[in-house]
Structure formats: C-alpha cells, structure tokens
Symmetry: C2
Subunit: 334 residues, 2 copies
C-alpha cells in the first residue's frame, strides 16, 4: 500500500502538502493540487484512516448498538439512522450487542466504543451498573424503554401514552374484555412491557372500565411462535375476550395466528392492536392496527443530542425525551 510519503515523493512536495490536498484544505495552489491529485491517482493512494484517527483523534464514524439485528424494529432503526448520520457527514456502523455467550457487555467494551466519535446505545437488557461503566469520555445517547441514570441523554418511545391510546381505541370500539398480550407487572420505568401495561391500565381508568387482572397475559418470552400458542390457549379458556392489545407488532402477528387457530375472526370476534408500526403490518390479515412509535423522530432527536455532545461547545444538561405516538388504524380493529 502506498503511503502519503510515496505520494509526496512522486509529486515532488512535502507530506504536509499531500495531507492538505487529501483533507481539502484551501491553502494549496491549484497547480500543486493538480500534481498531488495526479500522483494519488497514479499510485492509487488511499488514506490510512487508522493513522488519521490516531493522530487527529476523530474517526468520522458513529456507532449504533442494538440487541438483535434480526428484529424488524432494530433493522428499521438502523436504516433510518444510517441515512441520518450520512446526511450529517459521518458514517454509521451497527453492532449487535447480545451476540453469543459473552452477552451485552462484550460489544460494549469501552475500548471498542472509543474507536467511534459517538454512540447510540439501545439499552434493552442492560442494567444501570453496566451503563454506568460508560465514562464521560465518549459522547453517548441512550435509547430504550427502561429508566437510565439521569446524567445520560435518553430518547424513548411513548410507551404509556401509546398503550393507553391503543387500549382506549379498543374500548371506544365497544370492547369490554381487552386482553394485554405480553403484559407484565411492575413499575412503568422497569421496561417496555411494564410501561405498556401501565398504559393499558390507564385507559381502563379513563374510560371507567374495571381492569380484570386475568386479562394480563404474560408471555414466556416475546416471540411470534410463543404468542401464537399462548393466545390460542387463552381464548379457548376465556371466550369473553373481545379485544387484544399486543405489546409489539411481532406479538400481534402471533396473536392473529393464534386467534385463527382458535377459530376466532378478526375483527368481528376479537379486535387486535399492535405496537411498532412495522411496514409488514399493513399487509397481514385484515391489516394490523398499530401504534406508530415515531422512529424517525427518535433517531432525529438522538442524533441531534449526539451532535451536541460531540461538538466542542460546553456540555449542557442531559435531556430525557419521549417520542410522540400515533394510532394507525387498519382492519384488525374495525
């Protein structure tokens, strides 16, 4: 591989001049620039970004760390983020944190994170202890539905309001036995499932309907197949169920399948609403009514916060943002 020194020799200039041309600095005369560019082309020169980064301290790269690459939701997040980061003149790389046995922490090795100018971290399954290990040495914005230490910037979905919106929609449609599929007891700050369960409860209160605790359906884990089996069993045991709020769209797809297995029609017998607004939802069964969590908004804000932290200006107080949600009405709840 040719180095900047080879280019300098060939062009008859100093390494510094080549460096200036490579980095598009203005203080180079047109003639010199031409000769340097010619030499670069001649040698097929490529900058060594590693050396550049070691010396200059910046890599031009931002990382997005997600738990799983094969969950549709994180894929959408990654695609949006990649475009947004490019528009800001940097590049995005995505890493999967829960890879293999080593688990979340391995990918979070601070050493690796330090290779980037900044990082957007999706903190599902990460304890505060782990998150706290991130020193203030690196600009970081947190994503995710759990409470995080106050000193970090944090963007989350409108879990409570979204779940409430979805459940109110079902109650307003006349449903009186709205099951929450994938619900979980606990504080709304514990995570996605607890927060959405809180919204489900709130909706009942706002509409003056009693909450039936037997309608909280826990799932062994969040998975389409698991949901399918669990839901089919549930509706066979309790034929009065007339609606389901599913904590995610993937769960809702499992619920639709389970309801079909049990011979229930959607929306005639049971209405269904999901959460995430996956693209696919529009084309599944009668069309999946869902909550749009505002992913574009989330990424836009996360990157805005990250840019602020990466800028040389004095660091401001951490922000904690909640994205605005929207109901997307389709056939499964009509």
């Amino acid at each position: 591989m040719p180095t900047i020194r080879d280019v300098a020799r060939l062009a008859g200039v100093s390494m510094m001049t080549v460096s200036r041309v490579v980095n598009q600095r203005p203080q180079v005369s047109p003639g010199t620039r031409e000769r340097v560019l010619a030499a670069m082309a001649e040698l097929d020169y490529q900058v060594d970004l590693t050396a550049q980064q070691l010396r200059s301290g910046s890599s031009g790269t931002v990382a997005l760390i997600v738990p799983r690459l094969d969950h549709a939701y994180f894929g959408q997040l990654g695609a949006i983020a990649a475009d947004a980061v490019i528009d800001r003149g940097r590049h995005l790389v995505v890493e999967q944190s829960s890879a293999s046995q080593e688990g979340e922490l391995a990918a979070l090795s601070l050493a690796r994170l330090h290779q980037y100018d900044g990082a957007i971290l999706s903190v599902v399954g990460l304890g505060n202890a782990e998150v706290n290990r991130i020193r203030d040495s690196l600009p970081v914005v947190l994503l995710g539905e759990k409470e995080v230490p106050a000193r970090f910037d944090h963007v989350m979905m409108g879990n409570v309001s979204g779940a409430r919106l979805a459940t109110e929609h079902l109650l307003d449609r006349g449903a009186r036995h709205v099951m929450i599929v994938g619900g979980r007891h606990g504080e709304p700050t514990d995570g996605m499932q607890s927060a959405r369960t809180a919204g489900w409860v709130e909706a009942h209160q706002s509409r003056g309907v009693e909450v039936d605790p037997r309608l909280l359906l826990e799932l062994e884990f969040i998975d389409t197949g698991v949901t399918r089996r669990t839901v089919a069993r549930a509706v066979e045991q309790d034929p009065t169920i007339d609606a389901m709020f599913c904590v995610t769209d993937e769960v809702a797809i499992g619920a639709l399948a389970g309801l079909a297995d049990a011979g229930r029609r959607v929306p005639e017998d049971v209405r269904v609403v999901g959460f995430d607004n996956l693209r696919l939802g529009a084309h599944i069964g009668p069309g999946l009514t869902t909550i749009d969590p505002g992913n574009e908004w989330i990424i836009t804000e996360a990157i805005r916060l990250l840019e602020a932290r990466m800028s040389p200006s004095p660091p401001t107080a951490a922000e904690h943002l909640i994205a605005p949600v929207q109901l997307v009405e389709r056939g499964s709840s009509r």
Copy 2:
C-alpha cells in the same frame, strides 16, 4: 485517558510488560502481572485500539456490508454473522451500503474497508466495475445473486434450484398455471430475479408443462405493497391462475394480501410459495410455504473463506459456492 505509559509508571515496569499483560502473553511472571493488573484497575485503563491497530496491522474486526438494514433477510444474515464471527474471536460490524444519495460506493470507500481485517460484501446493485476496484489488499468474500469476477470468493443462494424446487412442488400439486411474481427475463447470472425465473422455466420443462410467458409477472420494484396491488390486478384479469411462485417471502406476503383483496382463497384457489424462509412466514395466513436458502450455511462458508484469506498461509484459488436449498412446506401450498 490514561495510556500504557501511565500504567507502566504506576506499576514500576516498562510499557512492554504492560503490553504483554494486556495481550495475555504468557511470558510474564505472576507477581508482575498482578501489579500491572492492579495499576490498570486503579487508573481504569482501556487500550487504545486505534493505536494498537496502527502498530499491529490488525483490528480484530470484520465488516458485513449489506444494501439495506431494514430488509428482514439482511437482518437475519447480520444476526447469524455476528454470532459466527464472535465464535471465531473477532467482532462484526454491519454497514448499510445504499445509504442516502451517495449510494453504494461511498460505504465501499476502500479506505474505510481497510480498517477491517476482512469484509463480507453483499453485492446487490453493484456493477463489476465497482467490485473490481477492490484491490487484493483486503480479504473479501462476496455474497449475492449476480455473477462476480472470478478472482473473488463468492457464496450465493441456490436460486435456480430453489425456484425449480418451488415450482415443481406447485406443479406436482396439480397446478397448471403457475405465475412467477417478480420474475424477470435475462441470463440466470444477471441477478436474483433472472436466476429464479430460470428455475421456474426449468421446472416446467422437467414436468413437461408448457411455459406461458404471460405468467411472468414483473414488479415495478420488489416491495410488499407494490406486489399486493399488482397481484390483485393480475388474478382479476386472468382467473385461470392457480398457483404463484413469489421470488421472495416479502413478495409472497404481498401476494397473499393481493389474493385476499381479489377474493381468492389460499391454498384452495391459488397456491403460494415464497423464497427466503423468513421466521415470520410460519405465522402468516395459512403458513407460507417457502424455500430455505440455507443462510447459516452461507454465512458459515463465507466466514470460512474469509478466515482462509485472512490467514498468513498462501492464498488459494477463489471458490464459488452455491448453497443447498430446501423446501419448507406449510399451509399456503397444501
């Protein structure tokens, strides 16, 4: 940030000794190792991977470059690859190549690629001219359904055999008017759609059924919504269609929706088979029959080839592999 020099000073040893401890080299006495580890903990030392890489020439990182992060297929690929790479003692980062206006080439900036020990490149939409710009300076394995220059290692799906298998399955079930949804004329080496169309033709020949060229349904582009509209129109115009081979599962999901829109039942009126074996397929409608392209096999082989290229041993001739496919039979074709 503390450096190796700070640790060395605190532990009362040379930088080299600290380096040996950090890199788990055996030739350090237990006592010294203890003191160094203590000093590292005390200072909360983290290696600078950039400097390490500049000096040692290796980053311990492999890149996977995919066109879109939000296509379920590439998400699954990424997840499998991340696990496989970790098991080999390295890390994986995923980049999206078709980000924003700049397009494929930007992410392929050779300079960026050189930061990695090796790269797995999904070459959808990449011309041979672009691929050829990759010098032999970096271990690279190509993925994708188009023909590539012979000097590159290349792993691809069994497009022709898979499409043939799917179509034969439909013909054997008694279908006589098997439409290919998302088909395209051209050489089988042109890309995914042409290759699968070739398999569709082969199946007709092997079963002695005439190919009706009007049953080749082109799509404006590969998208669930586009497919839905196009398929609904097609079956209204030609009521004799009794089966569909869809070039991908995402297309198949659109076809299922379009068939429902047009009042056709699956599988009673029209049988449907997809291609990709997305997890979701099992739970959509009657269950989507599909071709499993052997993603695990593809990634396993790609990484094996990459490891071989990354090893110091002499480079062997490039390999061009085709993954074995399998029919996954579900309700949509019964």
